[in-house]
């Protein structure tokens, strides 16, 4: 009885009986070694239907136990933040050689120097601009990948790709894959939490955390410091006593029904899910309640900023992210920027007046995000938490013709990693002299995902789910672990 064969035939979960017979608490040593012996065979994690979030063994020893992905929606300009190009300053307001490019919104004008000054930071002397001064101070913690490339120059498909590996809709988010593979270390909270920006959701919304063809149990649960988990709270119209009595009776009836179907794992799993729901009703409000945070903490994050409500809101989300990671949530995706307000208004999509727009957005991101990174470091969480700071693509080194902003640029952009298993104060890959195209150690989003999974102890070529005749992977049929960024 090999569960691999079972799920290959369309079953994603084992019955409890099969599960126990086969391995007990995940991949048993013997089974794992027999699987790993064949280095091409897909690995579909054996999942106990009654405990789908039970922790499962990775494929090999992991460096990171959990992931925090910070997603800057709208495409954060790399040439104005982390990718220093002196040539751009020299050739300011001159045509780009070989230019005349037509990009997403049309023709491009001249090269434009970074709108914020770059300075050397920390011991590494990494050049980072003044746009994000607090994050800049943490340059020594960061491992930059300057040679990222995306497949689409349109926000929707590119957001899809950064979170799900595919430009199309309908693929599971990276957090779904991580929890499908590894379960969770926290029994009372969702294994994968998406924290939308206080201003709303990114362009493709729930695609970032949808389970798509993976079982819905691995879908990310979206909530933030302002908006709790849907339907978590007992409705006001029902008293606690009444709720308890009702749920006792549900249990009673369900137990009776189960007695007529002895050993039915699905029915047993439903009973267990009500118990889990009850635990979550206690644990989730606790994790979202920031009252136990000291005034010093609130102020370091900027959560007490009365002048800038959006910044305070994002700061609270950052604290929430830390609290979730502390409690063992496997994957947290923290969003900065939202789309409902339109191009560039609530996000990093600076086409027309990038100087004005970024001057508004940067303070919202900078202090809270930097405080989060520091806090994780001080609490020792960076030792086994991987932080990935990403955006869907970069921006052009030129301004758009007739505008004061930069158009989309999927040919080269920057993301950074920090924490468990990655080099500190390191830069990998490079774009050309203007920051237009990745030229050195060109990296794809597949590579980035392969690297993230690798740090979690997962072989991206083997972690798979059988769907409509295809062994689906986060990295499709591509991707190479970027070994140069690993410690």
């Amino acid at each position: 009885m090999n569960p691999n064969h079972l799920s290959h035939a369309g079953r994603w979960m084992l019955s409890r009986r099969d599960f126990l017979r086969w391995g007990g608490t995940g991949l048993s040593g013997v089974a794992l070694s027999s699987l790993l012996a064949n280095d091409k065979m897909p690995i579909r994690p054996p999942i106990d239907s009654a405990h789908p979030f039970a922790p499962r063994q990775p494929h090999f020893a992991p460096k990171a136990k959990r992931v925090l992905m910070i997603f800057c929606s709208g495409a954060l300009s790399h040439v104005d933040t982390f990718d220093y190009k002196p040539e751009l300053v020299k050739r300011h307001d001159t045509p780009m050689p070989g230019g005349g490019l037509v990009t997403f919104q049309g023709e491009n004008g001249n090269l434009i120097k970074p709108l914020w000054e770059f300075k050397p930071r920390g011991q590494s002397g990494k050049m980072v601009s003044d746009l994000l001064p607090n994050l800049a101070e943490l340059a020594d913690e960061m491992c930059f990948i300057h040679s990222m490339t995306a497949k689409s120059n349109t926000h929707g498909p590119a957001e899809n790709q950064m979170s799900t590996g595919f430009t199309l809709d309908g693929f599971p988010g990276a957090g779904c894959w991580a929890t499908y593979a590894l379960g969770s270390e926290c029994a009372d909270l969702p294994a994968f939490v998406a924290i939308p920006d206080p201003r709303g959701v990114p362009q493709v919304g729930s695609n970032h955390w949808n389970s798509a063809f993976l079982p819905a149990v691995f879908q990310g649960t979206a909530f933030n410091a302002d908006k709790p988990i849907p339907h978590l709270a007992r409705p006001d119209t029902i008293s606690a006593k009444s709720d308890r009595a009702t749920r006792d009776l549900i249990n009673h009836l369900n137990e009776r029904h189960l007695a007529e179907h002895p050993g039915d794992t699905q029915l047993a799993a439903r009973i267990a899910s009500y118990e889990m729901a009850a635990r979550m009703q206690l644990a989730a409000p606790e994790v979202s309640d920031l009252a136990s945070e000291s005034p010093g903490t609130l102020s370091r994050y900027g959560a007490d900023d009365t002048q800038n409500q959006t910044k305070a809101g994002f700061a609270k989300n950052c604290i929430l992210a830390r609290r979730l990671l502390e409690r063992g949530v496997r994957f947290v995706q923290l969003f900065n920027g939202a789309y409902a307000m339109g191009e560039g208004v609530g996000n990093w999509d600076g086409h027309k007046k990038i100087a004005d727009q970024y001057a508004l957005h940067a303070p919202i991101l900078d202090q809270p995000c930097a405080a989060l990174l520091r806090d994780l470091r001080e609490r020792g969480l960076l030792d086994d938490t991987l932080v990935a700071f990403v955006t869907e693509f970069g921006r052009m080194p030129t301004f758009q013709k007739g505008a004061n902003g930069r158009d989309h640029n999927p040919a080269g952009f920057t993301v950074w990693l920090a924490g468990a298993g990655v080099k500190r104060g390191h830069s990998y890959g490079a774009t050309d002299e203007f920051g237009y195209k990745a030229t050195e150690n060109v990296a794809t989003i597949y590579d980035l995902h392969a690297t993230i999974l690798h740090l979690l102890g997962l072989d991206h070529e083997r972690l798979s789910f059988y769907h409509n005749g295809i062994e689906r992977r986060l990295t499709d049929v591509h991707g190479h672990v970027i070994h140069d960024v690993l410690t």
């Binding site: 809709d169 362009q203 267990a272």
Partner: protein, 980 residues
Amino acid sequence: MRALLVFVIMAAAPVRGVDFEREIRPLLADRCVECHGAKKQKGDLRLDAKPFAFKGGHDGAAIVVGSAAKSPLYQRVSSDDEDERMPPKGEPLTKEQIAAIKAWIDAGAVWPENEADKAAAVDKRLQHWAVQPVRKDFGAADGIDDFITAKLAGQRLTMSREADRRTLIRRLHFDLIGLPPAPERVERFVNDADPAAYAKLVDELLASPHYGERWAQHWLDIAHYADTHGFERDQLRPNAWRYRDYVIESLNTDKPYDRFLREQIAGDVIAPDDPKAVIATGFLAAGPWDFVGQVETKSDMLKRAARALDLDDMVTQTITAAMGITINCARCHDHKLDPITQEEYYRLWAVFAGVTRGERDADRREAERSAGGRARLNKELAQARTEIAKLAGDGLDLADMVGGGDGRGTGVSGRGIHLRTGNLITEKLGYHRDIQTNRLQTIAWPGEPKGALRLVQFVFVPDGRSPVPVAFQREVEGVPATSGHTWDILRNGPLNAQRTTVLDGTDYAAKGHTILGMHANSGVTFDLARIRESSGLTTMRFSGVVGFGAEPSAAASRADFSVYVDAGQKFQKLKMRKDEVASLDIAVPADAKTLTLIATDGGDGIGSDLLFLGDARLSADVTQIQLAAADEARLTRLRARAKQLERDIGALPVVPKVYAVVSESVPAVVRVQRRGNPEDPQQEVAPGAFAWARHAPAALGDNAAPEGERRRALAEWITHPDNPLTRRVIVNRLWHHHFGQGLVNTPSDFGLGGGAPSHPELLDWLAAEFAKSGWSLKHMHKLIVMSAAYRQQSATPDAKPSNDSSNRLLWHQNPRRLDAESLRDAVLSVSGKLNPEKGGPGYRDFRYTEAYAPIYDYITVDTPELWRRSVYRFVVRTTPPQFLTTLDCPDPANLTPARNVTTTALQSLALLNNEFMLQQAGYFAERIAGEHAIERVFALAFARQPTLDERRAAEALVRKEGLAQLCRMIFNSNEFIYVD
């Protein structure tokens, strides 16, 4: 001859004889086959059997017969470069071994065939069970139970006993119609002494119109149907529902399945005059469509990429749904598992190369009739207007004034007014938002000579949520509320992105006509005092036509148009459709100060609201013109006639549209795309299918074949009586839904990667029976649900047989959880609130906000129009309703042959606390309040009476917490959510 022979011998002379079996075969096996054999095929090369070795690998031939020097095999084993040299692991080959290989190749690489070589030459994939002809001989077995019992007996198992009648009626109801049985029907069935009671019930349910509603959902899952495009600009498809209704109706009338398939693939070709057959092609259009990539982008490369996705989706959906083969693996390379080549995949593209998705007339003849009638009326109307203009004079043109002119042609064509600045500008603008609404913008006339006429006074973005100012100290009422957004500006000519300049058959871009572009939301006020001053006119009439300049295939949209003279509303057309045109003929008194035109968005956002006015003119009123009495009478008559004609045109029936296939007359040539890259086209291919299924020739015509004929040919190929897959796939899908798992448990993958059938003979017997019945689905349903196998109880004894714990052999029925839609429908049915209305546009349980990426906000379903069956939901592709998603309602980006069944805490919380569930629990309580409430609860929800113990517990809960809590509890119980 002799000379040649001598030459060969001479050339071969230095070559030493090599014994392949002794020297080469063992060497290959020992040093090469580990990486180039059955387990691994590095570089796609195998050296373990003759046919593979000579086929070569990724880089071409490995062995060039007669020339070791040219053979990569020899080059690699003899290389000095360590990175090049084979084998990469272990010691290099010895000099003697290398020499042997050289000698062997030079001597002609003679490889005597042994058994393994012969076996390798046979493609085993062609022997795969699913592509073998459907069996015809089944020995003594006749009927489902014979096959099931025989298999069970092989494992010393037997069927479970038949379930009781209460369980059976509940099971049958959910399986066949997706709704719980009424308590009265349960009692009638339980007490029916007729031995045929069960069969009668089956017939009754199969005849119920709810049957089609239930089973359509399964088919729509496979078609990944939705009512919006998907992708980031997820726009509405308001006419997609006709296809959904077609599926329901086809199932209800038990349309033969082969015809059902043929219509969905080529109904518009097979029966172009049958609206139902045309609507059927909504199947091909059901999947996602990328508006940005197809229409909006300026990049041809992105357009090609979007089109590639489009064709891949159609091909994949058609072949997967009908034949259960996952063809799309072959988009980038030959299929890894199944013997389907990349070229075959692109031949299927060629079948659909002339197909796009879009709105079309469902009824061609009615559309033609209607268009003919419309054209006649329009012609007459145009004539009347020309006559009127002749008599009354051409008047002053408002578009010309917007272009800065005097109304007599001095304005600049194409020029417009910026709504935010009031500047006259020539460049085209796009999307504006964050504009202050209801703010009057005076017109700046930079660069205009002093004394320019300045006949346009104000522009503004209207929003009727507050009074709309049209001039200083003049506000008007009755303007609709708007999104406050707009696009481009007012123009003397077509707007930016305007697609058509024709209204009702008249092209207003033609000579003698004018266009005043006015995108919603916009307003413009003309200064009548100055107009009178400059023109000498006094009492005037304002005339013209207004309609959409949007592409007919663009998303459906509505808009409003209003005209005010001073503060008085003189004309208003609300929620005008894209295909409607309104005529204006408005009296403008001699003392009126302003004329204001307002275009608003119809409440559905500004998408496609490219309104424009044709021949918007102010002309002298008839009473002000010195006309002969006869002419005056004629003018009055003509005006009356024009009005009547406008009314007649307005009263013409709306011809139904459907979102389905749109044929292009000349299909594009399809080429194989290397590695699936549209930018790397290779050889041209002709329409065709794949040769693996050998029932009929795979060629489906050449590239001269008209678009429709290609699809007709594919439809015939798929529904060919001898197609080994089509019948097996559909009977297995039915089986899957009746038992919770199919005989093949990968219902959309019958290829080599899919599951093997648990009962291959039974599958074929069903397929054969299906053909005999004339491809009747209802016949198959009846066969299945009448079987003893189906009627078994699902409850099982504690000691499960270890040799079939997953119940593949069916020693009991499987308990099944209700899918998301059935659960919602069951709740509504039990609470008494289910709205039985059938068909028509889907209910929209969301608020829609226009934006670059439209926003769908779900609302609580608490009105009767939203209490319809879930199959009538307006399905938003990118933004699913969280409640249904939590219950495993699939993402319509994907083809879904089988629903996932997951059990999560969030699901429990949703069922416990979701507003819809609480409200329905309340209605359920209201419904059963009174005597025997608890019995009614159990009867409605579980089709049974409570036990003594349950009654006591329920009474205690009701006493303390009320009936609604009992009902809430029932909705959360396993017995309600599962079908036994």
